[in-house]
């Protein structure tokens, strides 16, 4: 009887905690939807919207890198594919008055008939699905051929990186199909509304936040239960997971596909608010930057991923405005400093040092697991001089 009550209480408290968390997330989302637009100029708000879109892909990266330990340097591919999907839909919204029924770049390059794979993008439901499914399925396939052979760690990173080059070359070279280097740009209307008008942009901003909240909820759900624990187990010791009877391949493929799909979503919303998608976003630097956002925010912390994406991007934007000549120094320095001194990112730092500081401020003593060991001068000396 007593045990039952205890269990119930635990469920109760975990439920309560979940409700509190949901409330906080909602409050923050509302804050961003209602208050932030009042504080920022149109331009900064647009930037905020873009960076929130990037936060979605940061969540995806966190899912595979922070939790599962797969460092993908190729998420630019999935991001770009999502962007292209939505851009193709918009490019097909050709006003009645136009002289040609094709996107204008095609008629310039002598294409007379719409290529077959453009045709489904007349339909919005298809496009909405494609934004998520095309990158997701591609990621799944790529993941399958790589993970099947237990290729992992750095090898996996290198292969994803090489894949970006390949996709870049392909999209870059297909001028008649995708407008080559220039990418798809100059968006006119979506659902009859002008894409670039402030009203539409504000709608995109709100949509981005809603999608971000859903993405957060999805990742939260994935990482909290058994599935999440399995992911962490794969990260920490894949062989042991194998020995305990699980086949990690399926899980890795699945989580990689989900992460790819999130990247696609992110790319779509980024494209809507930037007004351009080009093969350039498949370059290696961009994919590595995504990882850096997560590293700065904090690995294996979903809030950290979002925070990191916002902080790094705003810092980059401001620094490159103030020091257009030399801001790369700061960016490179940031990478170095974070990896060397903040291995757990901002959130990780707050969790450890922040707690200590809080305790020190409130006069409480730090909890030590083995106080005798921590205070033993000999152990201290060895730590210092011989390394951990």
């Amino acid at each position: 009887m007593a045990a039952e009550i205890a269990v119930e209480r635990r469920i109760d408290s975990s439920k309560r905690r979940l409700i509190v968390e949901a409330a906080i997330v909602l409050a923050i989302a509302l804050f961003f939807i209602l208050v932030v637009p009042l504080l920022l100029s149109d331009f900064r708000l647009n930037l905020m919207g873009r960076f929130l879109a990037l936060a979605i892909v940061a969540l995806g990266i966190d899912l595979i890198w922070g939790f599962t330990g797969l460092l993908s340097l190729g998420h630019g591919i999935f991001f770009t594919l999502g962007g292209y999907a939505i851009a193709m839909y918009i490019k097909l919204q050709i006003p009645e008055s136009a002289s040609s029924r094709l996107p204008e770049f095609m008629s310039l390059y002598g294409v007379t008939e719409l290529p077959w794979f453009w045709k489904p993008f007349y339909s919005f439901p298809f496009t909405a699905l494609a934004v998520v499914l095309i990158p997701g399925i591609l990621a799944g396939l790529l993941g399958y051929v790589i993970f099947r052979n237990r290729i992992r760690g750095v090898y996996f990173s290198i292969l994803t990186q090489a894949a970006t080059i390949i996709f870049f070359n392909f999209f870059n070279g297909q001028q008649k199909l995708f407008n080559g280097t220039n990418g798809l740009t100059d968006f006119q209307t979506i659902f009859g509304a002008k894409v670039n008008s402030p009203g539409t942009q504000y709608t995109f901003y709100i949509l981005t936040i809603i999608v971000l909240v859903f993405a957060y909820a999805l990742c939260r759900w994935l990482t909290s239960g058994r599935f999440g624990r399995l992911l962490v187990a794969i990260r920490d010791d894949e062989s042991r997971v194998r020995f305990t009877g699980y086949d990690p391949t399926g899980f890795k493929v699945l989580v990689f596909a989900i992460s790819g799909a999130l990247a696609g979503l992110s790319g779509a919303f980024f494209t809507l608010q930037t007004g351009i998608i080009s093969p350039n976003s498949m370059n290696i630097a961009f994919s590595i930057e995504m990882v850096i956002w997560v590293a700065v925010g904090g690995r294996a912390s979903l809030v950290g991923a979002i925070l990191g994406a916002l902080v790094v991007n705003f810092a980059k934007s401001l620094l490159s405005e103030k020091f257009p000549d030399i801001w790369l120094f700061f960016q490179g320095g940031l990478f170095l400093l974070v990896v060397m001194f903040l291995p757990d990112g901002i959130i990780g730092w707050l969790r450890t040092r922040g707690k200590d500081l809080f305790r020190a401020a409130t006069g409480r003593k730090r909890i030590m697991t083995y106080p005798s060991l921590e205070e033993d001068p000999e152990v201290e000396y060895e730590r210092k001089n011989l390394g951990d």
């Binding site: 930037l47 870059n172 407008n179 670039n196 351009i276 080009s278 350039n280 730590r383 210092k384």
Partner: protein, 446 residues
């Protein structure tokens, strides 16, 4: 524990210092006007520039890639643009007002270009922007300029097929660079052409034009190949050229930046010499010659509107001023000169219109730009109502000192034709923004 503690402390102090220094620099550079140079430390003396003192300034934007792959080319256009602004400021400014230039880094990334263009217009409230190099970056910012009805001066030769109300193109249209050079080659060098280009829009469009032109004029395209941007392994291309042109022929080169170096070095190593395999390049100017090495380029050709060796008093003045500002070993080239023209044309237009306009109303300045004439280093140029300028076309041969011997030039400036007349899709279209009574003055059948 202690050690980690120390490391983190280090980070804390480190970032604090970084923050302070950023603040310091931010204060110093907020007044930066025309004296921006490459070095970080050199930025600080800007505080004494006249712009800050007078208090009444005109803000203009300069938007080029200062980092990333395109910085190689764009940095020097920034230098030249800043030189023009400096000269105007020293001569008393525009209508008594000093020009204040706000520089932004497009970082060779097209969305960043769009972002920075927006920032310059909305946050800095500039009245004109000088910038962009690649077509992709121009296409990326185009919607921003059209949305805000703003004004961009674009200083690079490009593939044409565009005529925006909000962009003034001060580089060559294809009929001012590519087409005359093909004509000249057909007349002087031979009928068999091999086309080599980097894998992006300009070379592909340029080659479409060249192929159409060759077909119309009795030449022959024996092959074409594209190298990925930045790639330096050109061995397969050289092998293909040799098998396609066993007895020599013309190579038309639209490679970009880095690849050129590898291409010419390998060409020379493989024994394809200039007398049998003349190469006509449209992306190689004085600066690139310097980077590739004269030994590899001697006797090869380039088509431009401006060469540093143009013999005119205006050019002498320009080159001297540039060297005095940036160092004796620097050279000038065509896009740099176009950047210089841009600023001057804009200045004249502002003076004609009477005021520089406001960021939301530039209509007066825009109409004032039409018909502006300027005695440029390359010779007289005139802004046409189709937003392009008339330019003298020149073909140069690389000589021993790395500069060009001008072997051909048109007797007078050639009028620009933005919509290409060799390509079937745009044949018969023209552009005239002073024209009324047509749906789209940017593209209509004349």
């Amino acid at each position: 524990m202690t050690r980690q503690f120390g490391r983190r402390k280090f980070l804390l102090y480190g970032s604090a210092t970084l923050g302070t220094s950023i603040l310091l620099k931010a204060c110093a550079s907020s007044t930066t006007s025309s004296s921006g140079t490459a070095s970080p430390a050199a930025e600080s003396p800007a505080a004494e520039s006249p712009a800050a003192a007078s208090g009444d300034t005109i803000k203009v934007g300069v938007l080029h890639s200062l980092s990333g792959t395109m910085a190689i080319s764009e940095k020097s256009v920034v230098d030249s643009t800043m030189l023009a602004i400096d000269e105007i400021n020293k001569a008393g400014g525009v209508g008594g007002k000093q020009i204040e230039a706000v520089q932004e880094d497009g970082a060779s990334d097209w969305p960043t270009f769009a972002e920075k263009a927006k920032k310059l217009i909305e946050e800095d409230k500039v009245v004109v922007i000088f910038g962009c190099w690649t077509s992709a970056s121009r296409k990326a910012v185009l919607p921003v300029f059209e949305e805000k009805n703003h004004m961009l001066f674009y200083p690079v030769q490009y593939e044409g097929q565009e005529c925006s109300k909000n962009i003034f193109y001060t580089g060559a249209a294809p009929n001012q660079q590519i087409e005359p050079s093909v004509d000249w080659l057909l007349k002087e060098k031979g009928k068999d052409f091999y086309l080599v280009g980097s894998d992006y829009v300009f070379p592909r469009t340029a080659n479409t034009i060249i192929k159409a032109q060759l077909q119309a004029k009795g030449g022959k395209t024996v092959g074409e190949d594209y190298l990925p941007l930045g790639s330096t392994e050109v061995t397969p291309i050289i092998a293909k050229i040799r098998s396609a042109l066993p007895n020599g022929g013309v190579i038309y080169n639209t490679l970009n930046g880095d690849s050129n170096v590898a291409f010419f070095k390998q060409l020379q190593g493989a024994g394809l010499t200039a007398d049998k395999y003349p190469v006509m390049s449209v992306s190689i100017a004085e600066e690139e010659v310097k980077a590739i090495g004269t030994e590899f380029l001697k006797g090869q050709y380039a088509a431009w509107n401006y060469f540093m060796t143009v013999d005119s008093p205006e050019n002498k003045k320009y080159v001297e001023a540039f060297k005095a500002k940036y160092g004796d070993d620097r050279v000038t080239n065509d896009p740099m000169e176009a950047g210089y023209i841009s600023v001057n044309l804009w200045k004249q237009a502002v003076e004609k219109a009477g005021d520089p306009g406001t960021p939301t109303d530039l209509e007066k300045v825009r109409t004032a730009v039409y018909g502006q004439e300027f005695a440029a280093p390359e010779g007289p140029v005139t802004m046409k109502p189709n937003h392009h300028i008339s330019k003298t076309v020149r073909i140069g041969e690389v000589r021993d000192d790395g500069l060009f011997e001008i072997v051909y030039e048109t007797p007078k400036p050639v009028d620009p034709i933005p919509w290409n007349q060799y390509v079937a899709e745009t044949k018969g279209f023209t552009c005239d923004w002073t024209k009324t009574g047509v749906d789209n003055p940017g593209k209509f059948k004349s």
